[in-house]
Amino acid sequence: MNVLHYINLFFSDNTHWHGYDGIPTRLREHVQYSLIALAVAAAIGLPIGLLTGHTGRGGNTLSLIATAARALPSFGLLVLMFVLIGFGLVPVMIPLVVLAVPPILVTTYEAMRSVDPSPVDAARGMGMNETNILFQVELPVALPLILSGLRSAAIQIVSTATIAAYVSLGGLGRYIIDGLYQRNYEKVVGGATLVAGMALVTLALFWGIARLAVSPGVRRSN
């Protein structure tokens, strides 16, 4: 009731919908940061994951990277980069990308490894070359898992971009951080609601992508 009351106050205040600190601006910023970080992380993680998964080499190295990345405190990394590099988008993008690459990389590798080897052998026996096997046989079968890796990465980026407001970044986290400093709980709760909503929209988006992109045959067998 209490929290709902604050949420209502925040969203019904007309001034929160306009201008530099308005909800549309902050939302756009948050989406923009998240998309850039996800695109960069995917551009790094997907090709490496697909290749290592296809050849089956480097699994141990990858699991080591995953453990190390999981141990890295994202918030600490964020503050560290900010102190080392200074103001701007780059010091925030580095930790976001560093955190998003391992889930993409490892899940893609695992997905490619878990593809049933018999259709791959059949494709090879039919004379398909390796590139075609990779893109026409393995990738479609591995797609659901690969998408789940991208989803983890995206959700992690959305969350960490929120925390990034602490080190000067815009985005929805601004409301939470500023609200805490200003002792304006209405703003804090409003920001939290927006961030949670955005995380849920991300989930839904990936669910939708999976519905569209995964071939019906693969979906049925799962």
Binding site: P73, G76, V79, L145, L200
Partner: protein, 231 residues
Amino acid sequence: MNDWFRIPSDLQNSYFGLIGLHLREAVIPVLVGLVIALPIAQLCVRLRWLYPPVLWVTTVLYAIPSLAFFVVLIDYTGQTETTVMIPLGVYSLVVFVPAIVDGVRSVPQETLDAATAMGLGPVRRYLQVQLPIAVPAIIAGLRVATVSSISLVSVGMLIGNQGALGNLLNDGQVYHQPRLIWLSVITTAVLAIAVDAVLVAVRLLLTPWMPRGTRKARPAPAEPATEDAAR
């Protein structure tokens, strides 16, 4: 050398005191999460129709960013350790339920039949057969949950300096001492790796029947799709 570990007095704690605090804030929620997850998972194993909706709820809960979770709780529990620990407990619950359900389900039917034939009732069968066989899966979940929990405690700094080692991040900025930030990041990472190693050792102790050379045996079964180490 000792200068490197000196902690500003406003944190009212020594270096090792902060480590202890950090461990407490990270580990207690995970353990509570495990205790709550066991019955929920057992219920999901028993009632198959219950599992998909439970999985759905946990996925949604896991997507909520930690900072949003923290600040909403402030209204109820204030800017305290509890506020940091509740979300961590929920996140670990989310990791545990699928891990335990998959682990318990992986027990072969013959094994269960053999246990029944030996006269084990449902309770003893669960405690003495299903649970021990599920230990590797549970520990895998425990590793993910604990390590991400250790990383997340730092975010507690934002809500009234409840972040243990994370509080050093703020001090480092306020006092312009990058040393403190390095100290926080490195200590947290080392702590996570050390706890992870301890859990691997625990698994080896608890499952003496498993082959030791896990490296050569199939790569560890894909961990539950919860790579969100830190949010």
